[in-house]
Symmetry: C2
Subunit: 157 residues, 2 copies
């Protein structure tokens, strides 16, 4: 094999030799890289339903908390209120949810899924579970539980 060929491949072969030990020693970097993988797996599974990550989080929360107001929804999902407003506009236009002004306090909007929204949530949940399965298929059930427990210690209030 000619030396030239080896030299030509040097650039693309280099990645295997890249020393990333410093970055990989940082938990934050491991979480970042894991998030990138999980995110793209999720998006791939959810593509056919035309739902984004935040959309699914909203559908799921509405399914289990019908009539929740937007402030609570925004807080629970860590979405800024202006961004939630436009997200809800879009899902409402698509017939997935309804907003109802509170009679007690007319500032408040109560949000609920429509029947169509509930049906889509059922499908979306399956897709999300499938994405989870694809992303963490290398982990045993015990390891998955362990990972969830460790992560929740970091982000829980």
């Amino acid at each position: 094999m000619p030396t030239k060929t080896v030299r030509n491949n040097l650039a693309s072969d280099f990645p295997d030799q890249v020393d990333q030990s410093e970055l990989l020693g940082l938990l934050g970097y491991n979480i970042r890289r894991t998030y990138l993988v999980v995110q793209s797996t999720f998006d791939a599974q959810m593509e056919k339903l035309e739902l984004r990550q935040a959309d699914f989080a909203v559908l799921s929360t509405l399914r289990h908390n019908p009539g929740i107001n937007q402030k609570s929804l925004a807080d629970a999902l860590a979405i800024a209120p202006p961004n939630l407003a436009t997200l809800l506009d879009r899902l409402e236009s698509g017939g997935l949810l309804m907003r109802q002004r509170s009679a007690d306090d007319k500032r408040i909007q109560h949000v609920s899924l429509t029947a169509q929204g509930a049906r889509l949530h059922t499908q979306a949940l399956k897709a999300a579970q499938k994405a989870d399965e694809v992303a963490v298929h290398k982990l045993s059930a015990a390891e998955r539980q362990q990972l969830k427990s460790l992560l929740s210690k970091i982000f829980a209030a």
Copy 2:
């Protein structure tokens, strides 16, 4: 205490009652929420150095792989080449790194830190380690190692 006050606080108190069990049952969502926390902790620590997450990843990789080419750097850090090009432009303008056209293959740029870049990297590493410490302070040393090991099973090739 008047009933009215309680009713006024209902909206903001609702979050504590929000049922998020479905979302929290998904590992992907746990990783997403953890990433948000870690990211903002990192940004807070790195703010005074005016470095973004990808900037630090580049400085770290250059420190340990001087003369690496942009293709390898892009692959190693999962950054798209056009985005890496502009990122390097910015760091080069700031005097943190140098690009040197390869003599063997004039398509290739070899990238290295300047002395100033190396000094900034040293400070940035301390900030990154501090951010790690702040984010995962609730975890024991054994748990941190365990978490790192579980995460790397998900994102490693």
